[in-house]
């Protein structure tokens, strides 16, 4: 009998970004992205919640060792994005617009490669306390 349980790990990072589509004129970018298009960037305290779902292991009682999950997030996500400019300092967003949606997809895909395929993975990313996204849904 299955007993699926979701475990969550919270982490955070601070980064600068701007929303900009290089295929559009400055005027269109300004119109679509408003103040998020500011050429000198702005920034956020991002809160990241990583959710892993599966049956607890019969030997350990764990869905996943949370220390291991924390280390994975720190090594593959936080070290890459914390105190960085997402547009300028990361290869992931050199061509991809760093919206909260795209950041969540990128983080999910990075972590997916390091987590047992028998476990489901979902990422929630808060850009501000009031704006957050979930992926996948």
């Amino acid at each position: 009998m299955s007993h699926r349980v979701a475990v969550h790990r919270k982490e955070h990072f601070n980064a600068a970004h701007r929303l900009h589509n290089p295929e559009w004129t400055d005027k269109v970018n300004q119109k679509v992205f408003g103040k998020c298009n500011n050429p000198n960037y702005h920034g956020h305290n991002y809160e990241l919640v990583v959710k892993v779902i599966g049956d607890p292991d019969p030997h350990t009682g764990y869905v996943m060792d949370m220390k291991h999950l924390s280390d994975l997030i720190k090594k593959h996500v936080i070290d890459k994005f914390d105190h960085k400019n997402l547009n300028l300092d990361t290869e992931e967003f050199s061509l991809l617009n760093p919206t909260a949606e795209n950041i969540a997809i990128v983080i999910h895909n990075i972590l997916r490669a390091h987590i047992d395929t028998r476990l489901d993975l979902q990422v929630r990313l808060y850009e501000t306390e009031r704006n957050f996204v979930d992926y996948p849904v």
């Binding site: 600068a16 103040k35 920034g43 956020h44 305290n45 306390e129």
Partner: protein, 140 residues
């Protein structure tokens, strides 16, 4: 005497970097905060005024007026901006949370009416780091 607080918030980029120092020294002192291409925060700003409630309104100050003052003289200048490059009242200053709080105080102080006193500017850089400024109290 009663204290009245209004909470506002803004998002901005900045870096901690002293142009009179070498890159190595900046990185040694400011660590990740010295990142050349900036990083950013969601700032939460608490502005507290103190005074005696007006007998006719019951208000220390109309809080809508306080909100409008903060928006006009602070939020419009810093929200979705680069604190080092875009903000006139921080020109030539180090963009630490301490200096930002003092700058915000100076932005607001001249616009408050005589019957209220600006008591505190409290500024959260992250949910775990904040500063409070109570004005120049050296003469107290």
């Amino acid at each position: 005497m009663i204290y009245l607080t209004r909470l506002e918030h803004f998002n901005a980029a900045h870096k901690l970097y002293n142009p009179n120092w070498s890159k190595e020294k900046n990185e040694k002192v400011f660590g990740a905060c010295a990142n050349e291409n900036w990083h950013g925060h969601n700032f939460d700003l608490f502005v507290t005024v103190k005074g005696t409630p007006d007998p006719e309104t019951g208000f220390v100050m109309d809080v809508k007026k306080l909100k409008d003052l903060i928006k006009e003289h602070v939020i419009k200048k810093v929200d979705h901006k680069n604190l080092n490059l875009d903000v006139d009242f921080l020109k030539g200053k180090m963009c630490s949370t301490e200096n930002l709080a003092m700058g915000i105080w100076n932005q607001l102080k001249p616009h408050l009416s005589e019957n209220v006193t600006l008591y505190c500017v409290k500024l959260y850089e992250t949910p775990r780091i904040y500063v409070e400024y109570f004005g120049d109290t050296t003469n107290l």
